[in-house]
Symmetry: C2
Subunit: 377 residues, 2 copies
């Protein structure tokens, strides 16, 4: 039943919250946000509550007067969400999904158990333990919990790198000889409808381990497209998520599609959908968690997305260099997150680029990367 | 110079303000809104000031700490804006433009003076005066000031209708035997760049005198399209407006394009641009008044727009009937204004419909008109 009066609570008021609020305006949704006072959403949320996402009492209290709760970041107090769920609140994604995704070790075991193809791995207890797997290299050591935005991953190319391993529960994942990194965002609503956005291709920043460029559609065969979308749907159904699931994948050089990681929320790999698809990932998130019919994910134009990262060597109040040229160029759409302070590689915004011509699209995306800079004065 | 820190004040926090705020999120604009406490924007404006738009002191005080001032409704205190302009604030559209547009008599005389084609008219002092123009009928009597949303216009078909004329300064305009009603939204920024959105075709509700359906693009020849866009540009340049100008026109049965009325702000005839054009009219408004380069107005899909008017016979707390079916239909995008109380013919929202097939587009628009209703329980 469509009830625009119901109150929805969002844990987290960062840039994803900002874009969720922007989409919520269309339906005049009654949204309340929990986060620290300096969060980007503070000024524009219909209701904003200051508090820590990881504090049991803050989350539990926040959930008291809402009908539906959701998240825009996984690092939240799941115990409080479980208590709210027991008391009859709808919490989407469900607490058990958040728990699964907070722990990369559980995640990988889940893929194995459900026959979802993923890179080979072993669980490791601590740094010492990792040294037992010299024959498993080259590999990536991943922290079980608390990794985010490229942090919590170390490449272990040879035994000489073992010192870089985390001294905490983690997993060692065989390095995949991949051709491309792909992502599919899939939505699933309470009644079990499932819909995928077209597969995108991600190019990572070599140093920051963050998405530097994204291209939609991915340059892959229809058969790989089908496989990637199928894998995303299968994963969403296996997890039983209500909400969005962003599924990052490897396309190996021998043509296999493997799950890398998933995120149970709107994701960096879907920002371009605001400017390139009939339904954005943010609107789709609302549709999924409010049990509305899912929207049309079709793209009306090819698009690229460039993350706007804080310039190296600049820490302090943010200034944007090059906006005039950016705004003068057709098919270039900057989105700024309003973070007061820039730091090297901090995500300060993103730029969506659209062009019906794929070669021009790539050219324009590369130009954009250099044309807009976040610096201190 | 792009400065996202500058504060922009908007007089008015209705549905146009809502859509302006939605567009402002992309660039994290620092927007402050003035309106009554129950205005739709109150909850989501970065800063909201309660006050009357028609009160000199309220508007003057509101303008003190902003760098740029704009409006989303013409009925504002222009004296206060003139004072602020004299003190060096940028006010766009300029107070002289608002003054011109607040008075339909001045507007019509302006068109005549600048050779902008418009329907023949005579100025009338009061109701008695109108009776002198029996040979001018059929005609429309328009109130000089304070008409809005279809109010302030009376059809005078024959002398028997003279009692319906307004007993206030107005103008009597010869009824135009038109084939279609068209509209072009044109933007002009401070540096004088001008850009038009593609011409749209409006179908009015016979009783409420409000746009009932809008189709983009209009079903007109390329030559008429050119004429309509040229007329909009010429008008914007003649007025010297900085901001958006919505130019409503008649296409007469003998192929002439005549200006009907203009509005110096985002307009009902451009709502579909949010879902159908690379730049929306709301983003374009920000670009124009902040002296940014104007955006690409190209449409990526044909679109229709249906105003969601309060159902006849229903006055009270608003409920939305049919949203489930609306949301289940691809290419149908409802936008609700969040007004608590519905009244017959009150604008409660609008629905954008997109389809690459024009026949299906019209079919879908007609279906939408009946499928979604705003009622009281």
């Amino acid at each position: 039943m469509f009830d625009i009066k119901q109150k929805v609570g969002v844990l987290g008021g960062g840039q994803l919250g900002l874009m969720l609020l922007q989409a919520a305006i269309d339906w005049n949704l009654n949204v309340k946000i929990l986060d620290a006072a300096d969060a980007p959403c503070a000024a524009i949320a219909p209701e904003f509550v200051e508090g820590s996402l990881q504090d049991y009492d803050a989350v539990y209290q926040f959930g008291q007067d809402v009908e539906v709760l959701t998240i825009e970041i996984e690092k939240v107090n799941v115990e409080a969400l479980e208590a709210l769920e027991r008391e009859g609140k709808k919490v989407f994604p469900q607490p058990h999904v958040i728990r699964l995704i907070q722990d990369k070790r559980l995640q990988k075991q889940f893929y194995r158990e459900y026959g979802l193809p993923t890179a080979d791995f072993v669980l490791t207890a601590n740094r010492e333990d990792v040294r037992n797997y010299a024959d498993f290299l080259p590999a990536f050591h991943k922290l079980g919990k608390d990794g985010y935005d490229g942090k919590g991953v170390q490449r272990i190319a040879s035994p000489a790198d073992f010192d870089k391993a985390f001294d905490a529960p983690g997993l060692l994942e065989k390095a995949v000889d991949f051709d491309k990194e792909l992502a599919v965002i899939v939505a699933r609503n309470e009644r079990g409808e499932v819909a995928t956005f077209p597969t995108v291709e991600m190019v990572f920043h070599p140093e920051a381990n963050l998405v530097e460029y994204l291209f939609a559609p991915a340059d892959i065969s229809p058969e790989i497209e089908r496989q990637a979308e199928e894998l995303a749907k299968k994963t969403a159904q296996a997890i039983g998520i209500v909400g969005l699931l962003a599924v990052e994948m490897f396309l190996t050089k021998d043509g296999q599609v493997l799950i890398n990681e998933v995120a149970p929320r709107p994701h960096n790999s879907g920002h371009h959908t605001i400017r390139a698809n009939f339904t954005s990932q943010f609107e789709q998130h609302w549709r999924a968690i409010l049990d509305f019919p899912l929207g049309d994910t079709t793209a009306y134009t090819p698009a690229a997305m460039v993350n706007l990262l804080g310039e190296e060597g600049h820490t302090g109040p943010a200034h944007y260099e090059g906006m005039e040229e950016i705004l003068a160029t057709h098919g270039v759409f900057p989105f700024l997150y309003g973070k007061k302070i820039t730091k090297p590689f901090r995500k300060m915004g993103h730029i969506t680029v659209t062009d019906s011509n794929l070669a021009k699209l790539k050219e324009k995306a590369e130009w954009v990367r250099g044309a807009l800079k976040v610096v201190t004065k």
